[in-house]
Symmetry: C2
């Protein structure tokens, strides 16, 4: 069930104002539930509190890469492309969370809202009221201090900066997956990418010219490493950064290149971002619809305005007409901490939005704009920012961070919040680094090698073409299975990739395994040759070894990635091909 | 010169409202300077812009540990005890910066102000106005992208959240040190610690009882490692965290202990924080003066209120009367990202402040409160948070981070903003890690080994007592020199420890050397046996090797820390003793 309550007067620029129509019923919040909230508005904005139980665990908040259970933490949902601490900063912050106690909450805001996931209210008690505390244990070690997150009077405190009100949606459901699925249906349902999007991606070196790109494509085919999508990085344009969106001299015969790549079965994806260089054909047209700051000398178009979306999309559509099948939208994630790579929070946009709001909405608005550019051509694209209510966009997140465990945590967490995330493989330090990363990415929402800064295939450094081929062939085999998982995402909201905790409440402390379709994946980190795996009750079959496993813990020592399906639920498989036809939707 | 301009209506709770009386003249800002600012107030708060030149470098913003020149960056001055990225987050954020072009700026706010140090304004130009840009270089590599921070129309943008106005102080001076010195005099002048505070500190294991503390003290004396201050960690109290401020059973005969330590020449420093446990004798008295949230079940006293300062200080004064010479004030730095270790920004304090403001003022207010507790006893204490206008407090900052280069950057940066910082030595990974860290800390504002979680002296792991003794003896020798440097800090504002750039504009790219008194220190990192050293023009003498060096670059290969004084300016030295008398002020 989904219950809504409006507190005060919500802002105009909120995610629901720009999201697809919900595919879930929303009921008015009953009074006995609404009364559990305290609500106040002041100069700072909205403050809400809501009681937490002693064991309430809290999951979600978008693409969080440092922790799974946020109980006790302060989560400040700030857009930041370098989210290297557990502050809540993220490429894709989402003001939605689920608990282990049958409920979740979405706060409809495009502000950098702050969630204190367990703050303790001072209710004015005197010392004499605290006998229990007086007898509490003396705590002088970090372990106990960190664990000591639950107190009497503990509440969730939510601060929504600057707002005079906010809509709060309260979700109930038996398991976490039931709650998340409802959130995704409320977001318009999950996306269903074309089948070729479920195959493998390779992004070429940004310094390549058209001959080098073609050579790379032919080399991939010669090695018989299945690959459907070839990405071109900034160098296809005359000017970056900001972007001209015009084919450069290095791609003088780009139409011929696109034709040859099509013959080889490659769908082309183009890197770009939304910052518009003065030489871009759309510069003057976008000028009246742009913010009062530049980024890299480029306009920041207000993509919340239909006019701006139209102008931007119309130009990108000319690229689609030439034979482009998707985009990688970079730097739209409030990369301002990278070194001035974005517009200030206080930037003014013609719609009336400020920079803070635009940071939070840029991912969804950008995806909408590029969907317009795609027209009737289906896509499975990449984007570096996303926000709330984003399940319906066929855009996968990526990051400049690169720690294996962060990437795994991203895989586990993205599914809590209607996001798709690719733990892309870039440069690797060793064969095992490469192989373990390839295994992880092949069992993620998007199977992607990104060699943007690398003039050869990363697997050549370690003579690992066989291992990559095997995993990419596995991915090809699993396309029908993945297709079915995404269909379910579209129709019911169940995320194709999600935390184990979503389906198995008893797995609360298993933070490094996840569900792929309905299989269980327990990736092994590059520095290890095996790991402990926990499986839910029942009988399971090893996807690679065919062995039988029963619920509980076992040790997996293997060069493969441990993957399990429930006996009787073997994934349907397709024959391995090097790529899929273009016209599969 | 210092010029002040009031824009709009400033807030009530700002650093100047709680700072000592300025010891510098402040003039009204001339119109031609004031006109360079744009100022606006909106729902978000104050927005200021100020033009930047193409080569303006920007230093300061408090204890920043990731970068020295912030040009091009977004610096968000948020309190955070885990500032492990270059976002501006800090234990001690300070809204003051200096430039390499003869000016600096202080924005008088206790908000988490945001400084965009080079944002580019969109002035509505059309594509045809951009011929210069059209011919600009194609940039597709990270190095050039990061370097590309300067554009036409580049401005500093400052956002002061929620405020309806702000006082801005503009400083001019020939060199950076001249500007910083004025800022420090405006802050009330630098502190002058007692001479024993300039000697060496050792913090004992938090699990120790009184016998173990005494044993540790005797062991330090037996090894003849000079040490003046012995710190007791949380375990001296009956209850932590939060704090009871009452001697525990483990220190049943604490008066006898204090007496014996005094006989051995040790001044005792006590760990505590401001979160008041229900069993603390002052709990009920502080209740009406406390915020509406607890931290660790403890009250958060509003130390901006004289009543709260008085109650808190009076109890701590009983400890001083027993023979305590200082405090280490932990966790007052908005450790909320550590896992709920603080109060929310939206907490309400009885004074009318909110949590955000209190986070920024807590360091200074806490220092004031403990100065009251000290009464006539001079101190040189430790504190984990500080803010603006703090030069006069004899409190040194420390951190839970531990990267050597971060610590060195902290040493370099603290002096830009009226802060003192100790790159304290804790557990070490190798002998060279220990020795290089001891060298760094001995040439910092506070020579401190912190073995709070370590039941023996860290140097025993590596048989390095000789190296520690030698550095701590060096520190003892330098006390008269340091005393003079601090006297100058008090009387003229010149920081005793400061970046090379402060005095030598030509050293703009030397970010890993600093000035100690007037000597130049070029620390060697644990993983290296030497380094390149740059010296200003003139003739220099190696402090340890006595060799002559001339300005420019040379390679220093040495087991010592490279330290140089200008020929003719050899530091005055004291004889080495194990400790100084108690009554030196």
């Amino acid at each position: 069930m989904i219950y809504k309550k409006t507190f005060g007067t919500p802002e105009k620029f909120v995610p629901t104002a720009y999201a697809p129509a919900p595919k879930a019923e929303v009921l008015a919040m009953p009074d006995e539930l609404a009364e559990k909230f305290t609500f106040s508005v002041g100069r700072r904005g909205v403050k809400l509190t809501f009681p937490l139980g002693p064991d309430t665990a809290i999951y979600g908040f978008g693409l969080q890469m440092k922790e799974t259970n946020h109980r006790g933490n302060k989560i400040s949902l700030r857009c930041n492309a370098d989210p290297n601490s557990r502050t809540g900063d993220s490429h894709a912050p989402v003001p939605f969370f689920v608990t282990n106690e049958g409920w979740g909450m979405y706060v409809d805001t495009a502000r950098s809202a702050v969630f204190y996931c367990g703050s303790e209210l001072n209710r004015g008690l005197h010392a004499s009221d605290f006998e229990a505390y007086a007898e509490s244990e003396f705590v002088d070690n970090t372990r106990d201090l960190y664990a000591d997150k639950t107190h009497e009077n503990t509440a969730l405190t939510v601060e929504v900066p600057l707002a005079a009100g906010v809509d709060v949606y309260y979700f109930t459901g038996e398991r976490i997956v039931d709650i998340v699925a409802q959130y995704n249906m409320f977001s318009g349902g999950g996306c269903l990418p074309p089948d070729w999007g479920l195959c493998n991606f390779y992004r070429c070196c940004g310094r390549f010219n058209e001959d080098e790109v073609l050579e790379m494509a032919e080399s991939i085919r010669a090695q018989r490493i299945p690959c459907d999508v070839l990405g071109l990085e900034p160098g296809w344009q005359t000017r970056v950064y900001s972007c001209s969106y015009v084919w450069s001299e290095k791609f003088r015969n780009h139409k011929a290149l696109l034709g040859k790549l099509k013959e080889l079965g490659f769908k082309v994806n183009l890197w770009e971002h939304f910052f518009v260089h003065p030489t871009a054909p759309v510069f003057d047209a976008l000028l009246p619809y742009s913010a009062d700051y530049y980024v890299w000398h480029g306009l920041v178009p207000d993509l919340s305005l239909p006019e701006a979306q139209e102008i931007y999309a119309a130009h990108q559509h000319t690229l689609v007409e030439e034979g482009v099948y998707g985009f990688k939208v970079d730097e739209c994630d409030g990369s301002d901490f990278t070194g001035g790579w974005s517009y200030p929070d206080c930037a003014a946009f013609p719609s009336g939005m400020d920079g803070e709001q635009f940071h939070h909405l840029a991912g969804a608005l950008g995806a909408q704009t590029l969907m317009k550019a795609m027209g009737d051509t289906p896509t499975y694209s990449e984007i570096r920012a996303m926000g709330a209510l984003a399940a319906s966009y066929p855009f996968v997140l990526y990051s400049d961070l690169y720690d294996f465990n962060d990437y795994l945590t991203g895989v586990v967490n993205a599914g809590f919040a209607g996001l798709l995330w690719a733990p892309e493989v870039r440069r690797c330090e060793s064969k095992s680094d490469l192989v373990r990363r390839i295994q992880l990415v092949a069992f993620s929402a998007q199977s992607l090698v990104n060699a943007w800064n690398y003039d050869h295939q990363p697997w050549l450094d370690f003579d690992a073409a066989d291992e990559v081929r095997e995993m990419f062939e596995t991915r090809m085999r699993l396309v029908p299975y993945l297709h079915r998982a995404f269909k379910r995402y579209r129709d019911t909201g169940v995320p194709p990739v999600r935390s184990l905790i979503c389906d198995y409440p008893e797995a609360q402390h298993i933070e490094d395994e996840y569900i792929f379709g309905d299989m269980i994946v327990a990736p092994i980190a590059p520095e290890h040759s095996g790991r402990e795996v926990w499986l839910p009750a029942g009988e399971w079959v090893g996807y690679f070894d065919g062995n039988t496993y029963t619920g509980g813990l076992h040790t997996a020592e293997t060069e493969k990635i441990p993957v399990y399906y429930r006996r009787g639920e073997a994934p349907e498989e397709a024959p391995v091909t090097q790529y899929l036809p273009f016209d599969l939707a």
